[in-house]
């Protein structure tokens, strides 16, 4: 282990242990002061900017609830810093792990793979946004309840007029089609994801954020960088492109599951794994299959455990690609299971759709030929 690595690990662990102590000494009283209306103006403004639900929740729960949540934030900071310390320790001690981390963002992918992913991804974006304008018109009738989400507050954007909504909708559809046809793909992909996210931001500005499109958003935000790699590849003889944007998409999708699993463990302090919690969720949603499962205590014990193993374990497919043949089908079952047991979301799930980024499409020869012909349609195609 080099001196630089030792200093970094020491610094991370030092921060991980001192931050909770600093919080408990200096910042914990601020939480009480906030509820008594005695907190400094900057602290009040900061809390209400980060936590817009505070205006509602402070009427529902006692101060102790928020003190516990504030402590959770510091514990999570310590947890993340410690996790980075462990990461750097493993990297310095184990050659195979060091090799893995060094290669992770420095590999290459096939140009055909990028083309196929581009066509599949923007076709899905087109499909999932088809109803957006209609949804906008319907939701505009309750514009009086509009409360802009974080992104709209930061950018200063508001609820669009019907005509602006229509223009943005046409832009969204056209930019997705341009991406599919490989016409100005980098620019089109940027416009497509920004308008896609804007529509969602408007829909979620009614005090409830839905996470259904989250993985599409993450992939869409990184896709322009992947398409830029394809565009700047001026060597017609080389079919290999730097794959770091693709790896970043895979990492972000895996982190979604990992963070969802950790969230359950942190918030419930392990109680989430109890069959009592699982049964209560089923009872709350009253889905027919869920209610039937209540008659099988063994399943009520095993299913939450299996869901947790899936969520925490999904990220392992980045280390061992073969594991995707276990985790991707499990993921499909996990999302279908959520629909069947709780009656929420739908079978056509964007989360399942983003599994396309884990498949090596370019190894499926008939597909390669089919997608190549789409690229050649507008003569911006991939080299022979």
């Amino acid at each position: 282990m080099s001196r630089k690595e030792k200093v970094l690990i020491f610094f991370l662990l030092f921060a991980a242990f001192t931050i909770p102590a600093i919080y408990l000494t200096y910042f914990n009283p601020l939480v009480k002061e906030y509820f008594n209306g005695l907190a400094p103006t900057w602290f009040k403004a900061l809390v209400e900017f980060i936590y817009p639900r505070m205006a509602t929740e402070r009427n529902r729960f006692p101060v102790s609830f928020f003190e516990e949540k504030a402590l959770q934030v510091t514990v999570r900071i310590s947890f993340v810093l410690s996790a980075f310390a462990v990461f750097f320790f493993l990297k310095s001690k184990f050659i195979s792990f060091r090799k893995f981390t060094l290669q992770f963002f420095n590999g290459h992918t096939d140009e055909h793979q990028v083309s196929i992913l581009r066509i599949l991804f923007y076709s899905s974006l087109l499909y999932f946004s088809l109803e957006f304008y209609n949804d906008l018109l319907v939701v505009s009738s309750i514009k009086a309840f509009f409360k802009p989400v974080f992104l709209l507050k930061v950018t200063g954007l508001g609820f669009p007029s019907d005509s602006l909504g229509l223009i943005l909708y046409v832009i969204l559809l056209l930019s997705s089609i341009f991406c599919i046809l490989n016409i100005y793909p980098v620019l089109s992909s940027g416009i497509a994801i920004l308008t896609f996210i804007y529509f969602q931001a408007v829909f979620f500005s009614f005090e409830k954020i839905d996470h259904g499109y989250t993985t599409l958003n993450y992939a869409g935000l990184v896709m322009p960088f992947l398409l830029y790699q394809q565009k700047k590849n001026v060597n017609p003889k080389s079919l290999l492109l730097p794959d770091w944007p693709l790896q970043l998409i895979r990492l972000s999708l895996s982190l979604c599951y990992l963070l969802a699993g950790l969230e359950k463990l942190f918030i419930s302090k392990g109680a989430w794994l109890s069959p009592v919690t699982f049964k209560s969720y089923i009872y709350l949603h009253q889905a027919p299959l869920g209610m039937h499962i209540l008659n099988y205590p063994l399943l009520c014990s095993l299913l939450p455990l299996a869901a947790m193993i899936f969520q925490l374990g999904f990220i392992s497919i980045l280390w061992n690609e073969k594991l995707k043949w276990i985790f991707l089908p499990s993921g499909i079952l996990f999302h279908i299971g959520t629909v069947m047991l709780f009656g929420i979301s739908s079978i056509i799930n964007p989360w399942i759709f983003t599994y396309i980024f884990f498949i090596r499409w370019s190894e499926i020869k008939p597909l390669k030929g089919l997608f190549k012909s789409v690229d050649h349609l507008f003569k911006r195609g991939i080299p022979q």
């Binding site: 980060i50 999570r76 963002f105 992104l151 996470h211 972000s252 969802a260 969230e263 109890s274 709350l284």
Partner: protein, 132 residues
């Protein structure tokens, strides 16, 4: 220079992904996956809200699908106004959103179901708004 830009993008994106988890809040488009995370107990009281409007000499329940909202999202919105003690404001906004001249009044009801017993629900009338 190019390598540095790549590192900045990667580090920035990973930070943005982790930040909602640390702060326990959504920073849209970056999400905190809190759905189904809070432990619930079967002994907990299930709280629901119902909005009704008076039309054709009878009270009718408002369907959230009318606004393209899932019933859960509408319940959430209703609950937020209730907990902020803004039930009257909620009904006023609702009456403005549905300017139907055949509607004479709006009301908000709070239904509490203890434990697992659907038959022992307790309904409380929170607010009534007469518009005509």
């Amino acid at each position: 220079m190019k390598i540095k830009l790549k590192n900045i993008i990667v580090s920035g994106f990973i930070t943005a992904l982790i930040l909602p988890f640390i702060l326990i809040t959504d920073l849209f488009p970056f999400a905190r996956f809190g759905m189904f995370a809070e432990p619930v107990s079967s002994a907990d009281t299930l709280k629901m809200f119902e909005v009704e409007y008076y039309q054709n000499h009878q009270w009718q329940t408002l369907d959230a699908k009318r606004f393209n909202l899932a019933s859960g999202s509408f319940m959430y919105l209703t609950g937020n106004y209730f907990y902020r003690n803004q039930s009257k404001e909620f009904l006023t906004k609702l009456s403005l959103s549905i300017p139907d001249t055949s509607i004479y009044a709006w009301r908000l009801k709070h239904i509490q179901i203890p434990g697992n017993n659907l038959h022992q629900s307790d309904t409380v009338l929170i607010e009534t708004l007469k518009i005509r």
